[in-house]
Amino acid sequence: MAASPSISIAIVGSGGAGALTTVNFLLEVACAAGWHGLFTRTLGPQIRGGEAAGLLRLAVHPVECLPDQFDLIIGIDWLNAHRFGNEIKAGPQTLVISDPRGGEPPPMVTQSGARVVEVEMKEIAKSISGGRPNMIALGIASRLLGFTTEQVFALIAKQLGDKGTAAIEASRAGIKAGFEAAAGIGFEAELAKPVPSEARRWLLSGNEAAALGAIRGGVRFAAAYPITPATEILEWLSPNLTKVGGILLQAEDELAAINMIIGSSYGGTPALTATSGPGLSLMIEAIGLATAAEIPIVVIDVMRGGPSTGIPTKSEQTDLNIAIYGLHGDAPHLVLAPQSVSDSLFTTQWATFLAEALQTPAIVLSDQFMGQSRAAIERPADVAFIGARSVAANISGSYKRYALAPGGVSAMALPGMPGGQYTADGLTHTELGIPTSGAGDHLAQLDKRRDKLDRFNFGDHWASIEGSGDLAIITWGSLTGAAREAAARAAADGVNVRMIAPRLLAPVQPERLAAALEGVRRILVVEQTHGGQFHRYLRAHHDLPAPVRAFHRPGPLPITAGEIHRAIIDWS
């Protein structure tokens, strides 16, 4: 069998079995050897000790989505693994390594026709002083994937360096035993050789990438209220903001967090908070204030399953509506969505830049899948999008904070500037910022705030547009990777597909989308919602020039390239 450009491995275990550590090691070994990879964790509801699985896809190219099914599944044990339901798909080509003392493999494995090979990982581990079954699994997986013990040992030395020689020795022995145990096991799949590249590569999560993007864009203050799956953004920012002269403040709740960043930004320091659906709900009132008072802020919403508390640890795209339409009154603002772990950096940086340039809130819609997956990526280029707010200079005469400037953006005085004193206000105000209920002022300021968004030239970054087929997929966010892969597969089938994924969701870009859709004869809208929010949003603002099919379903299972591919083929 020919070497494959991508191979997928899942390692399953109950709490404390170390499945996630094992997968992380595998990823790092592969990356050190030049491959790319994407690592997604999936966990039970328990804080500690629940079932856990690590899903890993390795490839010769950057990986942006999970596979349709796995080539190799290792069950260190299967306690509660049935809870993963269909999350870890197996098929007749799948090799399953199972510890016979680890309970019954779940139906998703046994009913798949997969080949199951039993290895007594626990028993083998017992025979090693300090041995742990997950190191046996690491050894097995490494050998099956074609890594050498040296490669794995090098990583162990690096990662466990501070744990002492006994720990390292035990791990090495375990890995070695795993290599031996794997000796007789046939594994058809083979990963193609890595493509040599000069690019510097990083290994990070979408949440980390977004946080770095914010700092690159100019953010120097963050207010934090923890919430799954956004917390890592805040946790990464805390020490790193300090390094660059910034500050993170833990807030008592999201109402405080959002107001804190408004205060910071009012004072001239670009500011951010990160949250998920329930927290975004609580921020809505003050995001409206920032819109009316024209204070730039960045709010990252790492979406999870909804509604309400929903499924905190799983991904969905169902906060689109609230992000776009959630504010009371007419309150245009920016909504952007990164398209991959890597793009989380760019999009968050761009969002920060745009918020500052347009003096308005930017909501960045990331999601649990993108935010919490770790991926090997090529170091994103340094781009010039660094917050450039129009700040008032040499103020003389009466300062008009909300002057009706041509582009709609008026220069902002910062506290401390003599002569710039004004009161920022959520009340309808005059150009001077004085409260009014005059129809003329109200309309003028509404126009101003709309126009500054509508007339801004967002350039080509507004969307990823790929291919030129007459069947267009319109999708967004973390589904972009799966859609891209689906388009590639369709191309292999001879179906030429165009993919359009807006990175800028609001303000809408009707001319640009119309241009991107030119010549299209079928439009497939793909999103991960129950209600088809994105589809409705497109209809509301665009005259879609061809028949539309909406393919959408809710979480918690990620939408795969396979599903999208099928939707394409079914309509071809």
């Binding site: 990356c31 050190a32 510097r200 590569r201 990083w202 290994l203 990070l204 980390e208 770095l212 700092i215 690159r216 120097r220 203050f221 207010a223 790193n240 300090t242 390094k243 660059v244 002269g245 910034g246 500050i247 403040l249 807030a251 008592e252 109402l255 405080a256 967090a257 107001n259 804190m260 960043i261 408004i262 205060g263 910071s264 930004s265 009012y266 004072g267 001239g268 320091t269 500011a271 003050a286 204030l289 008072a293 090997a376 170091r379 005085a413 506290p415 401390g416 500037m417 003599p418 002569g419 710039g420 004193q421 004004y422 009161t423 920022a424 206000d425 959520g426 910022g433 004085i434 409260p435």
Partner: protein, 278 residues
């Protein structure tokens, strides 16, 4: 307080804007405004170095009536907004203005946490024991039998003790003033602004429209009979049992203010990438 570097020959009028207040004739808040401007003049602060932050309510309209930087935010969230401003701009003098509805009802949580956090700012609550702006509903300091359209015959709920809440939450400077004495109030405000860390000044400020009975306050208030204590236990007992009309600085502790060190910003961002490199 910060921004004390420049001292000028300042007059209270320098801190007043031209905007005509929307307040009713006779409202106590006019006197509070007077106390603000007198305190600022006393301290000789450049008006552009002061930020007055508020929520929503009659009392919360005060920022625009000063000639300082102002933020008239949303209802109940002024302390949070001010926290974000002050930690990133420690050079500013930040004064937060609120009412008993804005500050104690919807804003109660931020009150707790602002006291706890002890960021250097001054929090002024103009307590008129009523929601003035929305035309007369009871607040957390309204007497239980006070009759309103929303609560005919009274709420039946006893008012709480904001000063003890402040103390329990960590406030380090606690004072009570009466708007009818703008000189004394200005002095206390100036002292509160000078105090490093969070300072809390409750100002009894009558609502002549919905609480005409509060005109009698001038007969009820009196300077506290004992000087400010710095003993938490003593202060707790004293504030818990006072009748709400003792004026002056009532507690003064010496917890250091919270101000995260702000480092240099012109650093090489590529430093941050190290963690990610393969």
């Amino acid at each position: 307080m910060s921004g004390l570097t420049t001292r000028l020959a300042c007059k209270p009028a320098d801190y007043k804007s031209d905007l005509k207040p929307i307040w009713c004739p006779g409202c106590g808040d006019y006197h509070v405004l007077m106390s603000f401007t007198r305190a600022f003049a006393q301290l000789g602060l450049p008006s552009e170095s002061i930020a007055v932050v508020s929520g929503i309510g009659c009392s919360s309209r005060i920022p625009a009536y000063t000639n300082c930087y102002g933020f008239h935010g949303v209802h109940g969230r002024s302390l949070a907004l001010a926290a974000g401003l002050k930690v990133t701009r420690p050079d500013l003098t930040v004064v937060v203005a609120s009412g008993d509805g804005d500050g104690y009802s919807i804003g109660g949580n931020h009150f707790l946490h602002a006291c706890r956090r002890n960021i250097d700012m001054t929090y002024v609550v103009m307590d008129n024991r009523i929601y003035g702006m929305t035309k007369g509903q009871p607040s957390p300091t309204t007497e239980p039998e006070f009759d309103t359209a929303l609560t005919p015959g009274g709420t039946g709920v006893a008012p709480f003790h904001p000063l003890v809440v402040a103390l329990a939450s960590g406030a380090n400077f606690i004072a009570r003033c009466f708007s009818g004495d703008p000189n004394e109030t200005a002095d206390v405000l100036a002292e509160a602004i000078r105090h490093p860390g969070f300072s809390f000044v409750e100002i009894l400020s009558p609502c002549v429209t919905f609480r005409p009975d509060e005109k009698e306050w001038k007969e009820l208030v009196r300077p506290a009979s004992v000087p400010a204590t710095s003993d938490q236990g003593k202060a707790a007992r004293r504030l818990m049992t006072d009748d709400g009309f003792n004026l002056g600085i009532l507690y003064r502790g010496n917890r250091p203010p919270f101000q995260p060190a702000v480092g240099a910003r012109d650093v090489d961002l590529t430093e941050l990438e190290k963690d990610f490199e393969l």
